[in-house]
């Protein structure tokens, strides 16, 4: 989708809807400076809506990678249903259309007293407000035998890009009849339905190309998101292919053996042809380093402005934030980023804002033409964020309904990535 973004370049897309936003200042008025750390879903959306909402705000986005590959739809790539290229988006549009100063560098420090952001290159960026959206980090201490180096042999593929590619290559070279062992993490983690969507789409791939192969899910939990929908779909699409073992059955996951390519639980050792270990998670490393996390490992935030409860002037959006009932999803990161951007614009320019509306929507593929959706609305309440309404697909839905959801998901991808990056 990179080339597609480039083709779009320079036209009015997206800018149009924002054209009406924001106060217009007299020429020459001093700019307020906002630095956004992390060009993932949360950071890119925050930068775009800040830049488009107020011309008096100078927005800098710091992201080490030259482009971004979405985790959402990466399970379709694992199944061989799309290319990684088509899931990859550049930052050119954010820079050129919205005038965002995009810097490809790594943030190593934030000084909340001096109000500066320090980069690996040595550059120092002053700010009036900073938005931190570093995503997740993995808690390697929690799983014996699995660390950063081990991810090159047994990928987690929980950040999309080279990890996803490695897992796909391993699936491709696996012999028919092998066992794919997927280790599912404890709560809370990035995208609650995603490990089970991954199992579904890998099963789809096996059914086409390696029909004697099996999938074993070793779960750190005793139940999982939309469990009834998945169990029903596995029975219908992939009978006998996917086995799910909850923690109460295995006694929990104890260790990973790289050389044997096996996973040890309290009761057994499971040997894999291909293993995919998704470790326990916490807020991205930078958030840990600069004191934004509490004992939960995530960043407590104000439910209206997403300002850190621990460090004033620093806002946190996306997976790193601990935002009450809101799950860790791209849709949530995008929704939080907009609320946060409008709150910062209000604080820096005195313009009016409407009360925030926060949502999550997730499309989950059970097979390429069987998808389910859920939609949740949230509201700031009592110092946190609470679910207001929650609508989910039901087991008994017609094939046509599911097919329609799968088609809608494709349209959603195009609209959503444009909302974030274009």
């Amino acid at each position: 989708m990179k080339s597609w973004t480039r083709r779009e370049f320079g036209c009015l897309t997206g800018a149009m809807v924002l054209a009406g936003l924001g106060p217009r200042s007299a020429a020459g008025e001093a700019s307020a400076r906002v630095v956004v750390v992390g060009g993932g879903i949360g950071g890119a959306t925050a930068a775009k809506y800040l830049a488009a909402s107020a011309r008096t705000i100078e927005v800098t986005l710091v992201e080490p990678k030259p482009d971004y590959t979405t985790c959402f739809f990466s399970n379709l790539y694992l199944a061989g249903l799309c290319s990684l290229e088509s899931l990859t988006h550049g930052y050119e549009t954010l820079a050129h259309r919205y005038g965002i100063n995009v810097i490809h560098d790594f943030v190593t420090a934030i000084d909340p007293i001096a109000k500066t952001v320090g980069l690996r290159s040595g550059r120092i960026l002053p700010y009036d407000r900073v938005v931190v959206a570093p995503g997740i980090a993995f808690n390697y201490d929690a799983l014996a035998g699995y660390d950063e180096a081990a991810t090159q042999v047994i990928p987690h593929a929980w950040n999309a890009g080279p990890q996803t590619q490695l897992l796909r290559r391993q699936l491709e070279s696996m012999e028919d009849g092998g066992v794919f062992v997927l280790v599912a993490p404890p709560n809370p983690f990035r995208c609650p339905p995603a490990p089970y969507e991954r199992a579904s789409l890998v099963a789809y791939y096996f059914k086409q190309h390696k029909p004697r192969s099996r999938i074993l899910i070793l779960d750190a939990k005793d139940s999982f998101n939309s469990q009834d929908l998945f169990l029903d779909a596995w029975e219908r699409h992939y009978p006998g292919m996917i086995e799910w073992l909850p923690a109460q059955f295995t006694g929990g996951i104890k260790a990973v053996d790289l050389r044997e390519r096996s996973v040890k639980t309290a009761s057994d050792t499971f040997k894999a042809a291909v293993a995919n270990v998704i470790p326990p998670q916490m807020a991205g490393q930078l958030a840990q380093q600069i004191g934004l996390v509490d004992q939960s490992g995530w960043c407590p935030v104000d439910p209206i402005t997403f300002e850190s409860k621990l460090q004033p002037g620093i806002h946190v959006v996306g997976d790193a934030a601990s935002a009450g009932d809101m799950p860790k999803s791209a849709f949530v990161a995008n929704s939080q980023a907009k609320a946060c951007a409008f709150a910062i614009v209000e604080a820096l320019t005195g313009s009016e804002r409407v009360s925030p509306h926060l949502f999550n929507t997730c499309y989950t593929f059970l097979s390429p033409d069987d998808a389910v959706s859920n939609a949740v609305s949230f509201k700031p309440a009592a110092g946190t964020i609470k679910i207001i309404d929650n609508f989910v697909s039901q087991v008994q839905e017609s094939a046509e309904t599911r097919h329609r959801a799968a088609r809608e998901a494709q349209s959603w991808y195009a609209a959503f990535t444009r909302d974030t990056f274009g």
Partner: protein
């Protein structure tokens, strides 16, 4: 019918608010729509809402709210917005030209 008269009511409430505030409010609410609806006039399966008359959009939102039209997502959104907010975003989106990209 009820739907339209609610919307008309909110229009009156809004009449004395400044146009700029209405436009900013509309744009902030429309930002929420942009997570799923392409706001560039393109129509890739999820229908466009640009240039729709405020009455039509209001009627559609209220039909989602009452479950007369089925959609998880639109129902959650319609329930979350006040009548006044629906009127604001409907006016804002109606005012945007529908301009399909080449």
């Amino acid at each position: 019918m009820i739907a339209v008269s609610i919307a008309a009511g909110s229009l009156i409430i809004f009449a004395d608010r400044s146009q700029a505030a209405d436009r900013d409010g509309g744009a902030q609410l429309a930002a929420m729509c942009a997570s799923c609806h392409r706001l560039d006039g393109g129509d890739g399966g999820i229908p466009t809402i640009l240039g729709m008359s405020p009455e039509m959009l209001t009627r559609a939102m209220l039909a989602y709210r009452s479950r007369e039209r089925p959609s998880h997502i639109m129902r959650a959104i319609a329930l979350s917005l006040s009548d006044e907010e629906i009127a604001t975003v409907a006016r804002y989106l109606a005012a945007l030209n529908r301009q399909v990209r080449p």
